[in-house]
Structure formats: structure tokens, C-alpha cells
Symmetry: C2
Subunit: 610 residues, 2 copies
């Protein structure tokens, strides 16, 4: 039986630190913290939440994600109340080098996932709940604190529909309806019925409560724990700035710390604060996560005379490697028969999650799975991964270990036209700090690079091609992140062509055409675009002075610029052939010609250089 | 009174062309076309739709957007039935150079907006409906054909909530519930009640019908026309492949053209086809769109001694220019008091649309407004524009005339931390074909560049800074797309620093520091990152040989690579200072130092070069 009075005292202490830490910082979001203070105090210290405070990585810990990341002062104050943050540390909020950043990041050990871009936490929670229910088979629950403003984000409804589809009764969303957004009222103000109807329509169990009345809060968590097959949304009516009369429920106080004078007026309103008070969090169980056995994967055996698309090899690689890497799980956005993720699905249905056409939630869920120790491979058309750029960007700040596969790259997909062509994906993934960008040219390379991706700790992007392409490598050829392959080289080379994926085959065709004229060129397979094989490229630059980079991608941010940057200190004449005209429908070869990235275009360019 | 029998005959003719054109093309989506054939035939030729078939640009035309763009064979066949496409043209479907592309694009004159990335059409429709109701004040209606699979996209629910919020009773969504997605059944199959409940919960008027029963179809459109203050969703139960027994309602037929043999089996099932049959579309009214008067804007008058942020200047520029450019409208994602779009809002509330925290729909609605002749300025934090990359990418394929403003660029925003920092926005917008990327350093430049953006036809991105920065330009200084400013230059320059936005002030500070040591550097304000001022940069390269590009953006795809590419043919030693370490909370100056893009870092780099 929870001690309501103690919880209310704890909530006061927590409010105190929300206020003083932000005033000390001179910025932050005290009002958005105060609205959720009772909800979160009740959760952590009221008996529902189970967590080993000395082991944040404990697999049985319940998970708490602050999707409304700007309420970070509340988040840190909760851990003060749990005895894991000192008063001194609280006063470093937002300071350079402090783990208590403006929005939660992994530099604070109790952060489950970095947040701050709204509408992402619930998807991450979906990933963690999927893990508990279907993979680790553990009883931990995942709680996500949501703001009402962020319910406008479509990604929330993606997470809602998928959570219901997968019957995630171990997922609890706590919606802090404080009525006020950044610049004024939300679309629905305190009309809780709107949220209730929507949650119900999306297959959730809604529980409407007064978010400042502790007994009701505790009852709600208790009720949430009994859901049989539905995720639960606790919809709480709250007041922004609750507890401080001159900001409570008032507009104009978003993202504003109190001045010292205001703080002096505010603190007495809280009443007596006991700084020595600490809350107890229930310990979790010690169940062992379900373990899958592993064994060495079979080697590959491609026949040289049978073209295979790299997207197909992606699927076969995942299926083949599944046994060796039991942490691999696969997510796809309703196009698994195009990305060929469905080859994995057929072999390992329990490790495949259909995420339907909802790329943002797919990436967020991938992040959640990654943070629970899985190695998610997330696939759709390269073009449609742009849908999740914000989630991709944010994943990095959670130190994600996600592998992305974008199929149907470039104009070479042909007749489907511009909307389906991934032409900005390399640029997008290159911007991610420490990311790896791989672009195999044949099935052997694709198989090997999928394995390299699985072994690498961090974010990896693998770009695959729609069309079947010839096998150019031996089955025992080795590939590495940061590597390249010199396929043609001689002392008479007039230029070196740097290509990857579909354009590598164009480069090899150009080589043959030019050879007939007695002109020799070098050809390099630049399959690792980031990191890039600076040494090999520089050697080629020194040897031939003329480099031609050919890519089925827009010129900006792509392989051409990656090579240019890598060769900043090498004297070289570098020519970039890339997509520069409005793409359209047509046959792959027509479009490669039209964009000037075909064998014909390479031959023309080489002739110009003679 | 509509002639049901004729409509049914027309539907057969339309089905005929959906089948023969895709078989001729050897690819395409006949089954997804057949499910909606009756719905669309009833709409166009049953009396509800009003359109001057000889004037696709007529301002009173009803608008029809195929959000499920893969049903393009149906779209083109409808215009065959309207007498605007010949049989011969129908047979060019998906061929190189044909206006009948795989997914609709503006190369076909009846395409309202390019589609093919699912879940985008409804947002575009929202923009067109906003225009009709609140700007042009015209009675045209906007119809959007939706697939059931694409309802999984969160962007749909963003469009739903905003359409209801703005009471768009002139917007009609037609949901073609054919039960089957690309690789199998959707989440809800033929459970139409799920869609009905969700539509109602999101404030729409749902009408559930049999999508193959013409009288019910016509009644639904009639009913939709009578809505007083709600958008209407017609939820139609349909069969994928309807009309051809061996594909109807069967899985495995997505995106597959019939073979010639299959076609020969299929066509007899349609019965007699009258190729000479044509449908009539009702003519629209000839109302004149509401006109706003225009007058010359006041000139600017910034005081040199008062720092102003470029984000603030963005807002004042819009407010000031509103009278001169009556087509300007402004959209913001619930952060108008941070982007300062709210300055425009205060002056011109009727031309401002609050789009709440739903960036994807904001960009889609912006596209809809742009396609109806408005010049939308769309703003949020630069970081959060990544949320809409897919919509931004697709906008280009509709030849959009949208102006994007991303505020809070770079680590220099300070204490809020990584989640709020736009560090990949330049790379993202550079990938857009023919895009313009502008990055003003002071309020004068920002004001002038907002006007240049408004005057430019096409997609423009303007990057603004959170912090107040000194005024460095005279109020009569001119700026142009593709220009730059040489701020410091002498014969003794040991290097030239190329900067923009916040880093320009660091460069100027570095200049002063070095000058005290007797070292001179050139400084260029590269405010137009795309197109870039190649001539001026090349001259600086020739003059000093050492160039240092400093940017508050990740190294990949940013200004450094833009400069590198521009100077491909110029011998120069180019050094890039950019964001390369995990960003975090801190004061702006601490973070500029930490990332090595501050005055101190520039001085250090210059000294290394001495």
C-alpha cells in the first residue's frame, strides 16, 4: 500500500528541483516539468515501476522514456529523489560537460533514449515492448511520457496503430494533457474526450484521470498493469506549471526558467521541502532473457554466370546469417517482397516485424530494439527512408546500433519514375556522425557487407539496386568497412573511374569499349562510401591524375563529394558524373544515358580528357 | 440525373485501358486501378466533379489528387474517357519521354501534384482546400483518392486533424479499401468500421459505401457536397482487381501487369467495350479569386549598434513584404514565437496558418498552396524540417514554389542540446534539384534574402540563427541568389576564410585577432550556398591559395563540400572546419570552440598555414 502523503512530499521535492535547477541554468522548461511531476512521482515511487537503481542496464528493469524530452528537469529530479543524483549535480543542468543536458541523452545513465524531437518516444517504446513480449520474453513494462502538443505528430499515430496491432499490453503511454503548447493552446485544449476517442479508435485502452490527484494516478497504473492484450494510454488532465500560482495554467511560460526573484516568490508556495527525503523504487525480477542458439552460417556460393540483384542478396544474406547472429531482427515497411527482407521472414518469422507503410515508427521501433541489445535491420525503398530522417538523426544521439537498407536506389530502377528513386540517400546518411555508408555492386559484395554491417557497432546504411547485376567477385572475396577494390589498373591508364553499385557495371562496360580503341582506364569499386578508402583513391589520383566519379545519385552530398573531400590534399582533376536532370520514367539504360552516368557517358568523358 | 448505365459502360472502358496500357508497358498497377475505377468514374462523370477540361489551370476547377499514385493507369484512363488522351497516347504509358509516367507528374497536364510516395496526397489537398476556403474564396472542391495501405502513414493523420481543425468541408477523401497492400493484407483488411471510427474521432464525416455500386457512389458524392463544417471521408469497400475474375480480391497481383495471354483471358470478362464512348464533366463556375491589393513595402532601417538575430529579421521581413507580395502566406509548426513567423501572423492573421507540431503535413499543405498560386513560407527549427524530407523531395517533382525557413541552425543554439540543432539541413536542401540555399549572417542580409526568396520561382531554403548577431551591412546593401560578399581582402592575405551565418562573425573576430599579430586574412560571406558564387571563390583561391571554410553544420554535404565542388577546376588548398564531434549542451561560444569552428579555431588554423 503506497504512502500517499510521502508521495506528495516527494512530488514537492521534485518540483523544488525542477524550479531551482532551471533558474540556476537560466533556461529550460520548468512549467512542462511541473505538469507531469505528480504523474511521474506516482509512477516511480508508487509501486508500479520496477527498476534496479544500481543497474540501469538490468534486462528486467521497466523502461521509462520521456518523449516530451524538454521535461528533462523533471526527469533528473526524479533520479535525485531516487538517490542517484546529488544536489550539486542538479545544479549543473544544461552546463557544458554536464550529463544533465537540455534534453535527455545517454550521457545521463538513466536515459533510455535521447529525446527532444517530439513524437518519437512512443515508437522507441514500441521497439522496447516488442522486445519484451516477442524476443527476450521478459515481464518488464515500458512507460512513455507524452505531451499533448506532440500528439499532433503523425509518428504518434503510427506507433499507436502498430502497438495495438502487436497487442503490446506491456506498453503504457502517459499523456500529460497540460493544454498549452509552446506558443499557445493545443488543438484540443483540455478536451480529454478527443484523446480518449482517438486512443480507443486506434485500439488502445484509454484511462482518463486527474493528473494531480495521487490516488487516481496510482489506481491508473494498477489498472494499466492488468491489460490483457491492449496497450494502455493514461490520459491525464494536468496544469502546466502546476503548484506555482503565477505560472499555473498560464500561457507564455513555455521554455522559461524563473528569474531569481520569481523563484523566491515561487518556492514558499511549495511549502516545507525535505531535501533528505528519498523515494523507493521496487526491484525488478531477475529473469534471464530468452536465448537463441547460434552456429556458424553457411558460406555463399554464387554462380558467375547468373546475375542477381544486390537487394536479393540482402535478403539471402540476412536469412543465411540469422543463425550466426541471433541478435539480428528485421523490420520492413510493407515492401519486403521488393527489398527481399521477406527471405529472412520466411526462415525466421519470429524475428521479423512487419511495420506496414509507416517508416518513422519503423525507425523508432528499430531504435528501441537496438537499445535492448538487438541488431535491427530496417528496410524499405531508399527514397522512403527520407521519411524518417528526423528519427535517423535522433537515433545517433542514442548511440544506436541500427542497420538501414535502402533498395531501389537511383534512376536505374526505371519505369516507376522519380517518386520511387532514391537519389538523396547517400547524402542523408553521410551526415550522420560516424555513420557507415556501403554500396555493393554485386551479390557477393552485398552478402559480405551485410555481415560487416551486422558485426559493426553503430549506424550503417546499405544501398541496394533493383536490377539484376552480374557477379563480379569470387565467393571468397573479402570486403571491409573502409575498403575498396581496384578492378582495372595498368601503367597506361588515362583516367581512373570510381564507381559503386549500378555504375560500377557501367564503368566496366566503358572499360571494354575503350579498350577496343586502345584506350585504358582504371576502375575502382568504391563500395565503402563512408568511411572511404582514402589511400587507394589517392594512389589512383597520383597515378592517373584524372578521376571520374560516376554515381546514380544527385551530385550534392553523394559519392563525388565524398571522394573530393577525401582527396582534399591530393592534386587531381576530378570529374563528377551524377544525376542532374529531372528524373522520369523510362528503361534503366535509357535513364542512365539520359542522366549521363552510363558506359556511353563515361566513354565520352574519357575521350574529352584525351 | 446521372445515367447509371452509361457510367457503368464508361467504367468498363476505363478498366479496359487500365489493363491494355499496363500490359503494353509490361509493368504498372492494374489491380490497384481496377479497385477504384467505379469510384473515380462516378466522381468525374456522375455530376459531382466540375472541371473545364480545356483549361486545367482554371481557378474554379475541382481538384483531384491521386494520393495512391500507383493507380496512374486509372488516372490516365479517366482522361481518355474525358476525351483528352488518345488511345495511341495511352499506349505510351511508362515509356521514356511519355507524359504518362509510372506515377503521375506534372508532365501530364491534368496532374494536380506529383504522387507516388504514399501518404502525401491528403496534405496537398489540405493546402488546396485551405486556399479555396480562406484565400481565393472559391467554391471549388478538392478530392483526394487514398489507398487503405497508405492510411498507416502518420502524415495522413496529421492531414486529418488539421483538415478538421480548419473545418475544411470542401475537402473530400475517397478511401479505396481494397484490403490488400503490396505484400499481403493491410492491418485491418475489410474491417471498414476501423476507418469509420478513426475518421470520426479525427473530426471527419465518414460515409461508408460499396465502392462498386454506382448509385451508392453517386449518393455519397452528393452527401459529401452538403457537409457544413467537416471534411468528408468516403470509405469504400472495394476489391483489388475488380472485374477480372482471376485477379479480383487475390493476393500476389500488386504492381503486376497482365501478360498478353492473361490479357486475352481478361478482356472478354469486361463484356462489350465502346471505344468511342466519352464522359461529360460539368463545367465549373467562373468566379474570380479574391484579390488582395499590393503596394510597395517600406525599406528597412537597422541600427548598426543593435544586434538582431536573423530569425527575427525573417519575421519582420515577412511582415514588411506582405503588402508588396500578396501571394505570400506563412505556415509554422507551433514554434512561430521561436522562428518569429509570429511577427507576420500578428500583422496578417488571415494569411497565417498554424500547422501545429506536424511538419510533414505542413510541407504538404505548403505544396498545395503553392500549386494554387500562393507563395508559402514554411518555418520551423531547421532540425525538424528533416521530419519532412520525403515531402520536400516530392515537392520538387511537382515543380513547387515553396520557401522553407529553418531556424536554430547549428550548435550555436547552445544549451538546448543536440536534438534541437539543425546540422544536416544544408546537405538535405542541397540535394533538391535546382534548389536555392541561403544563409544570411545579419538582419539586413536576412531581410533582403527573404525578398529574393519570394521573387524566385522554385524551392528556396533560408537558414537562420538563434543568437542575436551584429549588423554588418548597410541598409541599402543588395543581395542576390548566387552572390557573396568579400568583406576583407588585401594583397597580404595569407588565407581566405569562407563563412556564412554565425561563423561569419567568428571569421571577422579571427580577422581582428590575427591583424593584431600582423597577419591578414580575407573573409568572404558565402550567403548563397546554392547556387554558389564560383567566380568570387575562384578569385580568392587564386589570390591566396589557402581557403578555410567554416560552418556550423556537419562536414558532409555542407558548405565545405559545396565550395570544394565549385572549385573543382581551381588549384587550391581547402580546409574545412565543421561540426565533427558529438554535439551537446553548453553555451554557444563553448560549443563553437568545442567543435573547432570559432574565431579561436580559425586563428589556430591560419597559424598552422603560416
Amino acid at each position: 500500500m503506497a504512502d500517499i502523503q510521502k508521495l506528495e512530499q516527494l512530488a514537492k521535492l521534485i518540483r523544488y528541483f525542477c524550479l531551482v535547477s532551471t533558474t540556476e541554468a537560466g533556461s529550460g522548461h520548468p512549467s512542462s516539468s511541473l505538469s507531469a511531476a505528480d504523474l511521474m512521482t506516482g509512477l516511480l515511487f508508487g509501486g508500479a515501476f520496477r527498476y534496479d537503481v544500481d543497474q540501469p542496464k538490468h534486462p528486467n528493469n521497466d523502461r521509462l522514456i520521456f518523449s516530451k524530452g524538454h521535461a528533462s528537469p523533471l526527469f533528473y529530479s526524479l533520479w535525485f529523489a531516487a538517490g542517484k543524483v546529488s544536489e550539486q549535480e542538479m545544479m549543473t543542468l544544461r552546463k557544458f560537460g554536464s550529463p544533465l543536458e537540455g534534453h535527455p541523452t545517454p550521457s545521463f545513465p538513466y536515459t533510455e533514449a535521447a529525446t527532444g524531437s517530439l513524437g518519437q518516444g512512443l515508437s522507441i517504446g514500441v521497439g522496447m515492448a516488442l522486445n519484451a513480449k516477442y524476443l527476450d520474453e521478459l515481464p518488464y513494462r515500458t512507460y512513455v511520457l507524452l505531451g499533448d502538443s506532440e500528439m499532433a505528430e503523425g509518428s504518434q499515430w503510427e506507433a499507436m496503430e502498430i502497438a495495438a496491432y502487436y497487442k503490446l499490453n506491456n506498453l503504457v503511454a502517459i499523456l500529460d494533457v497540460n493544454r498549452l503548447g509552446q506558443r499557445g493552446e493545443t488543438m484540443y485544449g483540455h478536451n480529454l474526450d478527443v484523446y480518449k476517442k482517438r486512443a480507443a479508435a486506434f485500439g488502445w485502452e484509454p484511462i482518463v484521470i486527474d493528473g494531480h490527484y495521487m490516488p487516481q494516478i496510482l489506481t491508473a497504473y494498477d489498472q494499466a498493469g492488468q491489460s490483457r492484450d491492449k496497450p494502455v494510454m493514461i490520459i491525464a488532465k494536468t496544469e502546466k506549471g502546476k503548484g506555482i500560482s503565477f505560472i499555473e495554467g498560464k500561457n507564455g511560460w513555455h521554455g522559461k526558467a524563473l528569474t531569481k526573484d520569481e523563484l523566491a516568490r515561487a518556492l514558499p508556495e511549495l511549502g516545507t521541502i525535505d531535501k533528505n527525503l528519498r523515494g523507493e523504487i521496487r526491484r525488478p525480477d531477475d529473469f534471464i532473457p530468452a536465448v537463441r542458439e547460434s552456429a556458424k552460417a553457411e558460406p555463399i556460393a554464387y554462380a558467375v554466370d547468373k546475375p542477381v540483384s544486390t537487394r536479393h542478396a540482402y535478403g539471402t544474406a540476412l536469412e543465411r546469417l540469422a543463425i550466426q547472429y541471433p541478435e539480428i531482427v528485421v523490420l520492413d515497411a510493407e515492401v519486403s517482397n521488393s527489398t527481399f527482407a521477406d527471405i529472412f521472414k520466411k526462415g525466421h518469422p519470429a524475428r521479423f516485424f512487419e511495420m506496414f507503410i509507416a517508416e518513422q515508427n519503423m525507425v523508432g521501433a528499430g531504435l528501441g530494439l537496438s537499445l535492448r541489445g538487438k541488431v535491427p535491420f530496417v528496410s524499405t525503398f531508399a527514397a522512403f527512408l527520407t521519411r524518417a530522417f528526423d528519427q535517423i538523426r535522433m537515433s545517433r544521439y542514442s548511440n544506436a546500433n541500427i542497420k538501414f537498407c535502402g533498395s531501389h536506389a537511383g534512376v536505374s530502377i526505371g519505369v516507376d519514375g522519380s517518386s520511387q528513386m532514391g537519389l538523396e540517400d547517400i547524402a542523408m546518411f553521410r551526415t550522420v556522425l560516424d555513420s557507415v555508408v556501403l554500396y555493393p555492386s554485386d551479390a557477393v559484395a552485398a552478402e559480405k557487407l551485410v555481415e560487416e554491417a551486422a558485426r559493426h557497432q553503430g549506424m550503417v546504411y546499405l544501398r541496394t539496386t533493383r536490377e539484376d547485376t552480374p557477379i563480379i567477385y569470387r565467393n571468397d572475396e573479402a570486403f571491409r568497412i573502409g575498403g575498396s577494390k581496384v578492378l582495372k589498373r595498368s601503367n597506361q591508364d588515362v583516367a581512373t573511374v570510381i564507381a559503386a553499385g549500378i555504375t560500377l557495371h557501367e564503368a566496366l562496360a566503358a572499360y571494354e569499349l575503350l579498350k577496343k580503341e586502345g584506350v585504358l582506364i582504371g576502375v575502382i569499386d568504391c563500395y565503402s562510401i563512408k568511411p572511404i578508402d582514402q589511400g587507394t583513391l589517392a594512389a589512383a589520383a597520383t597515378a592517373t591524375r584524372e578521376l571520374i566519379v560516376v554515381e546514380d545519385h544527385f551530385a550534392e552530398g553523394g559519392m563525388g563529394e565524398a571522394v573530393r573531400t577525401a582527396l582534399a590534399d591530393v592534386p587531381v582533376s576530378l570529374h563528377s558524373l551524377a544525376v542532374r536532370q529531372m528524373p522520369k520514367s523510362g528503361k534503366p539504360q535509357e535513364l542512365l544515358d539520359y542522366e549521363g552516368i552510363s558506359a556511353k557517358a563515361i566513354v565520352k568523358k574519357v575521350r574529352e580528357l584525351l
